[in-house]
C-alpha cells in the first residue's frame, strides 16, 4: 500500500498538542513548497512569500480590509457549522446570502427617500428573514418530502442567483442607469456605519464576532446544542433519547439562513452599497472550506476565515507587485488547504515504524477475532 515501512496508528484519544501543532506544520510546509514554486518561476522566494502573507497586513488599512472580507465569511461559516454538526449538509449558504442581499436591498431601495434611524435595522432584519425563507425551503423539502438537502440547496443557489439577475436586470435596476443591470446607490440611512473614518470596515464585523460567540455558547452550553451534536453523531441514539429530528433540522437550517442572509444584506448595505449581479464573491462556498479547516470550532473558524481572506488579498498583492498570474493564487491556495487537511491526520493518528507489512490478511483475522 502507500506505506510499507511507516504506518498509521490510531491514538486512543485526539492529541491536544497536535491540534495546535498541525496547522503550524501545514503552514511551514506551504511556505517551503510555495518558496520552491516561486523560486522555480524566477522569483525571490522570501520576497514572494512576504508579499503573500505579510504585505497585505502591513498597515491598519490592510487589517480593516481583512475584516471587511472576514465578516461575511464568518457569518456564513458560523451558520454552516451548526448545520454540519447536525450532519445537515447545507451547501446553500450562497443562495441564502444572495436572497438576504436581494431582499434587504429591495427594502432599502423602497426606503430610498425615507430618513430615520429605524430604517437600517428594518433592512437588516428583512434581509436575514429572506435568507431564512430560502433555508426554510430546503428544510421543508427535507422534512416534508425527504429530498436530499445537498441537492436541493445546490439547486436553490442557482435559482437565487437567477432571481438576483432578474431583479437587477428588471424591476430593481436604476431608472437613471442607462439600463445597466445595477440598482441605484443606497441612501446613507440604509448604509452600515463604518468603524474608522476613511476605511470600509463596518459594524458587520461585530455581528460576525457576536454570532461566533453565540453559536459557541449554544453549542457548548445549551441543551439544544447538545441535541444537535448527538443528532450528528448518532441519529438512532438521538431518536431514542426523544430528540425531535424534524425540529432540530428546521432550527439549524433557519439559523444558518438567517446568518447567511444577514451576511448578504450587510454586504449590500456595506462595501457594495447597491444591488449588482455580483454581490457575492462565492462567500457561501468558501465558508464551507472554512468550516472544515476550522474543525467546526468557533475559534478555529475565526482563524480559518482570516487565513483564507488573507490568501485572497495576498493573491491580489502578488499580481500587483510580482506580476504573478491569478492562477498561481489558486495553486497556492489549493496547496495550503491540502497541507492543512493532511496534517490534521496527526491529531487522531500517530506515525509508527512497522516492519514491512505483509500481514494484511493477518490483521483482518485479528479484526474478526476482536469483533467476535
Amino acid at each position: 500500500m502507500m506505506f510499507n515501512r511507516i504506518a498509521l496508528e490510531k491514538r486512543s484519544s485526539d492529541s491536544k498538542t497536535m491540534s495546535y501543532l498541525s496547522p503550524v506544520l501545514a503552514i511551514l510546509l506551504t511556505l517551503i513548497s510555495g518558496g520552491l514554486l516561486f523560486a522555480s518561476l524566477g522569483q525571490d522566494p522570501f520576497h514572494a512569500l512576504h508579499t503573500f502573507f505579510v504585505a497585505p497586513l502591513s498597515d491598519l488599512y490592510g487589517w480593516t480590509e481583512l475584516g471587511t472580507k472576514v465578516a461575511p465569511l464568518l457569518l456564513c461559516a458560523m451558520g454552516l457549522t451548526l448545520c454540519f454538526r447536525a450532519k445537515i449538509w447545507n451547501i446553500g449558504a450562497e443562495g441564502q446570502f444572495i436572497l438576504g442581499g436581494l431582499g434587504g436591498g429591495y427594502i432599502a431601495l423602497e426606503l430610498l427617500d425615507v430618513e430615520g434611524l429605524w430604517v437600517l435595522p428594518c433592512v437588516l432584519i428583512f434581509g436575514a428573514l429572506c435568507g431564512m425563507f430560502w433555508a426554510a425551503l430546503a428544510a421543508l423539502l427535507k422534512t416534508r418530502f425527504g429530498a436530499n438537502e445537498i441537492l436541493t440547496t445546490i439547486m436553490l443557489n442557482y435559482i437565487a442567483l437567477n432571481w438576483l439577475l432578474y431583479g437587477v436586470h428588471g424591476p430593481l435596476k436604476d431608472p437613471e442607469g442607462f439600463n445597466f443591470p445595477e440598482s441605484a446607490m443606497l441612501s446613507e440611512f440604509t448604509t452600515l456605519p463604518v468603524i474608522f473614518d476613511d476605511y470600509r470596515l463596518n459594524i458587520s464585523i461585530y455581528f460576525a464576532l457576536f454570532a461566533a460567540a453565540v453559536i459557541w455558547a449554544l453549542m457548548s452550553k445549551t441543551l439544544i446544542g447538545f441535541q444537535i451534536s448527538v443528532m450528528g453523531e448518532d441519529k438512532a441514539a438521538a431518536r431514542f433519547a426523544g430528540f425531535k429530528e424534524t425540529r432540530l433540522t428546521w432550527f439549524v437550517l433557519l439559523t444558518c439562513g438567517a446568518l447567511a442572509g444577514l451576511a448578504g444584506v450587510s454586504e449590500v448595505t456595506g462595501p457594495v452599497g447597491q444591488l449588482t449581479p455580483y454581490i457575492s464573491s462565492g462567500y457561501g462556498y468558501t465558508a464551507i472550506i472554512i468550516v472544515f479547516l476550522g474543525r467546526m470550532h468557533p475559534v478555529g473558524i475565526v482563524l480559518a476565515s482570516m487565513l483564507l481572506a488573507l490568501t485572497y488579498m495576498g493573491g491580489e498583492m502578488a499580481q500587483m507587485d510580482l506580476s504573478l498570474p491569478k492562477s498561481l493564487t489558486g495553486l497556492f491556495q489549493g496547496m495550503l488547504l491540502f497541507y492543512l487537511l493532511a496534517c490534521d491526520l496527526l491529531i487522531s493518528y500517530r506515525i509508527v515504524r512497522k516492519p514491512a507489512s505483509k500481514n494484511h490478511s493477518q490483521s483482518a483475522t485479528q479484526n474478526i477475532n476482536a469483533q467476535a
Binding site: 500500500m1 418530502f145 472544515f292 489549493g334 493532511a342
Partner: protein
Amino acid sequence: MDIELITNILFATIRTGTPLILIALGEMVCEKSGVLNLGQEGMVLMGAVLGFIASVVTGHAGFGILAAIFAGMLMSVLFGFLAISLVSNQVATGLALTIFGIGLSAFLGAGYVGMAIDGITAWEIPYLSDIPIIGKILFSHDPLVYLSWGIFGLLFWCFKSTRLGLTIRAVGENPEAANAIGISVMKVRYGAVLFGGAMAGLAGGYLSIAYTPMWSEGMSAGRGWIALALVVFASWKAERILLGAYLFGAASIMHLVLQGLGFEASPNLLAMLPYAATIIVLVVLASDAVKTKLSTPLALGQPYRPQV
C-alpha cells in the same frame, strides 16, 4: 413544432447530457465505495487542458483523450492520497481539489489560449444512422457519446450482477465488515476514486476536444457541480443518471429553443427552469423515501482506516 425540430432537440439533448453522464457515472462509482469527491470541477478542467495540449502537441485527438483521462486520474490520486490514506475530511479535500485544479489548469493552459485543433468529428454508424428520425437522434454522434453508453452499460451490468459491483457496494455500506471478509477497503476505494478521476478527465476531454474544440480558462462552466447533484438525484443508480442527465440537457436546450420560437419570458426566469425542474422531480422521486434512503451508501463520506 415540426418533426425535424424535435429530432434536433433530442439530438442536442444527448450531446448536452454526455459530459454530465461521464462525470456523474464516475462520481457514482466513487460514492458507492463510500468516498465523496467534490473535486469534479477541478478534475474536469485538468482533463480538458491536458487533453487539449496533448492534441495540439501530437496532432491526434485520440492521444488527447488518453491524456485527458490520465490527467483526471492524476488529480484523483492526489485526492485519494489525502482522503483515503491520510483520512482527511472528504468534503473539504474535494473543494480544495477544485480550487487547485482551476488554478493549475489555467496555469498550464496559458500558452494554448486561442489555438484551434480539428477535434473529434461525428461518426455516423453505418446503416443504423440511416433509420429515419432515430438514426439522426441516436447514431450520428461523435464516438465519445457512444463510449458514454458503453460505460453506462458496463456499470449497469457491474452493479446488477457481478462480484465486483457487490464488493464496491459492500465497502461503501460497511467498510469494517468488508475488511473482515478479506476485502481490501483501501484498494477498492482507491480503484473507485481513480475511476471517478478518469471519467471526469474524459468529460473534460470531451469538452475541449469534441464538443467545443478549444481551450479557455474555466470552460467547464460549473458542469462538475451539476453532475454531483445528479448523482444524488439519481439515488446512485446508473439508469437514473442517464435519465437525469438527458432531462437536464433537455431543460437547458428548451430554454434556448423557446426563445427562438418567440416565447416571451425573462431569460433569467427561464434559466431557473432546469434547477426548479430538478427539485420537482426530486420531490416526486423522494416520495419513495424508503427506497431512496436504502440506496444511499451508508458509509458515504466517512473515512476508513484499517486497524493494524
